[in-house]
Symmetry: C2
Subunit: 153 residues, 2 copies
Amino acid sequence: MNNKKQPSLPRQSSFGWLIAVLGNDLATSLDSHLKGIGLSLNLWPTLFALWEEDGLTQSELTERCNTAHYTTTRLLDTLEKMALVERRPHPTSRRAHLVFLTEQGKALEQKATQLAKDCNAEFLSALPASEQDELNKLLLKVIAGRNSDLISK
Amino acid sequence: MNNKKQPSLPRQSSFGWLIAVLGNDLATSLDSHLKGIGLSLNLWPTLFALWEEDGLTQSELTERCNTAHYTTTRLLDTLEKMALVERRPHPTSRRAHLVFLTEQGKALEQKATQLAKDCNAEFLSALPASEQDELNKLLLKVIAGRNSDLISK
DNA sequence: TATTGTTATACTCTATAACTATA
DNA sequence: TATAGTTATAGAGTATAACAATA
């Protein structure tokens, strides 16, 4: 009665499908790990970017996190309430702020990134070290190629 | 004034970060391609599964698509309104339905999967064919390892 | 007139749980 | 009592656009 056939594009051989399944699985996993230290996945990109460099304006942060400007506003409100971040006046512009991590926000980096590393390691554990490196390298190459595409347009 | 430093986990070397960036980018791209044929990304997993095999119950479909049962109900309502899918009575159970593609739904497969293939190819174009294969193989291995992890727990 | 950031509002998505009808 | 499926409803997340302050 039902119709099982050779599909013209099997899901398991579709790059996009594999990335989507994996991304979803990784996000769920990291989110539940982050709950353990009072964080959640939606705060993650912002914190991650600030651990790399703080003292940014909201616009710079928005760009690095690939979020919308109004999202950044609200994420920072949340992070300020949690005392992980503070907005300080911009030295030369009175309409811009600079966003800094508080001591508490800085102190969280070790614990939080360790969670992310564990999470990554867990997912990659099916691969030997050499293949893990290879996979990261290939992914970076795809992303880099994608960005240069955008520039050339 | 601002603080740029060596982070304990640079984003570009984090597997999860790479997958998330790529997944987001792929999803946006495929979604905009799908709009061109009247579809959208949220309908995609269901259709994709049905092109592989139709005549499934909603429960089976829910499982294969990794969605919630109430989501499946509404997606199928939408797909029925679009005349791509139909619910037929189950031969032995009066509470279950079997979900079938209509002729129109079947006819869409070629065009739709071609879009997905193009989209995948565009993203993978930075890699030579041998590396594309390698990448798919590694991703499959990670996903397979992940699933066997779940089983062993 | 453009930019930085905030807010109001509407819309979509998702989650919880109650419900019907079966089995 | 459990299962298949639907629906109501609440909450979160996202998008549009209007707004104030500043450049």
